[in-house]
């Protein structure tokens, strides 16, 4: 969720090398990096789909012993960059499976640059400008907080359900809010909907129809002192 923190997973059997590398990362990354240690590719496979890991640095010997797992790992939906940490001989074919290479003799600057290059590639898709909802996403949100289903939204906006679902995914990703009541608060704060209608709906669980508009003159509305 937090864009500024980069979670780096390290698979490296040598404690000395792991600690050294993680110290360099923590110092150079100006606390932007979280470094985690993993013992195997299998262990990492459980974490990557959760979206928590942004980059993996691995000793290629792990890949060498588990070419299959490694391949299937790289094929899964979440494209996470893999960096090889090299301090002994490995065949070219193995090393070429990785997106980048860190050599044991690399300076601090080179190591951080290597990582930043990979991260910035990834970060662009999460960058600031993309935090704003697009007009279409705003339309979907408007309908969403009125309690409409995906199908109803699709019909109203003349788009496919699939598109609605993907808009909803983007909304959650951009706002960090998933629940209907949370999104309602978001919509009101950002003046996306007329808050009076939403406000009423959320307190009285009024079925979201056009009738709610006429409810504004009703005693319920006055009761709320808006």
């Amino acid at each position: 969720m937090d864009k500024c923190r980069i979670n780096i997973a390290v698979i490296e059997p040598s404690a000395i090398i792991y600690e050294g590398l993680s110290n360099i990362l923590l110092q150079e990354g100006c606390s932007h990096y979280n470094v985690y240690h993993f013992d195997s590719i299998e262990e990492i496979s459980c974490e990557i789909p959760t979206g928590k890991i942004d980059l993996v640095i691995a000793n290629p010997s792990f890949a060498k012993d588990n070419i299959k797992t490694f391949h299937s790992q790289k094929r899964t939906g979440c494209p996470v960059p893999w960096v090889a940490l090299i301090y002994s001989f490995f065949e070219r074919e193995i090393v070429e499976l990785f997106d980048a290479v860190i050599q044991i003799t690399d300076s601090r600057e080179v190591i951080t640059r290597t990582i930043q290059n990979l991260i910035s590639l990834n970060c662009q898709c999460k960058s600031e400008s993309k935090e704003q909802l697009t007009p279409r996403e705003t339309d979907v949100l408007k309908h969403l907080v009125q309690g409409l289903s995906n199908k109803e939204i699709a019909d109203q906006l003349n788009i496919s359900i699939h598109t609605v679902v993907s808009h909803r995914k983007n909304i959650v990703q951009k706002t960090g809010i998933k629940s209907q009541s949370g999104l309602t608060i978001y919509a009101i704060s950002n003046n996306i909907n007329d808050y009076r209608i939403l406000y009423l709906n959320s307190f009285f669980d009024v079925a979201p129809t056009n009738k709610s508009l006429s409810n504004i003159a009703s005693p319920k509305y006055l009761l709320l002192n808006l």
Binding site: T175, G176, G182, I185
Partner: protein, 237 residues
Amino acid sequence: MYQTKKTFIKPDMKMSDLIFENPSLLLMMEHFDINIAVRNNTVVQICNENHINHELFIAIANLYNGFNITNTENISRPDTESIILFLKNSHRYYLDEKMPEIRDCIGSLYAKNDNPEIRLVEKFFDEYSQEVKEHLDYEDIVAFPYFSYLTNDDSNSKSTKFSAEEYRQHHTDIETKLGELKNLLLKHIPLKQDGSLRRKLLTSLFELEYDLTIHSVIEESILTPLIKKIEKQKKIG
């Protein structure tokens, strides 16, 4: 998986040094019903004084220091009561201390900012509190008594329909909504005269979330596997 930031706690370290480094360990000790006046005692001495398995204590203390649980082999059946005590005490902390504190903050915010968002945040939080309360009550009333019964009963009879598996499935994700609340307060809701209130509210939310996160790790990675093991020995579940 671990994060190298704070000390990895070992039995012979001085408890006071560890608390100076990470004061949240005080809260952890409170959950264990341990007197926090630790004098010069080491971790293992404090555990012995309080009849707590030091392996269990250290596993949990290391969670507070940001390390994940590595091995639970030395946590066994006699430790169930300590774990339950710990979890029950944390429930009290959430329900009697943290949630009312957060509720008060939201109330004060509303008093200063008469705008509809805060009213909705209040409602959002009340619904959330209700969910949390139901979940914790369920653990206190259904799950924990079963676990105690299971540990203390020596017969092999299966006299109850409850099981660790059911407990695991019942486990709801009560942290997601906290995250939403933090996002709303940090990024989206415009407020005028909130002074230090919003900071206090957010800090409380972070504190609650921190302890809740550890709480669920204890349930998932220590308690559930332990109960499953006992069930297996008794051939039930």
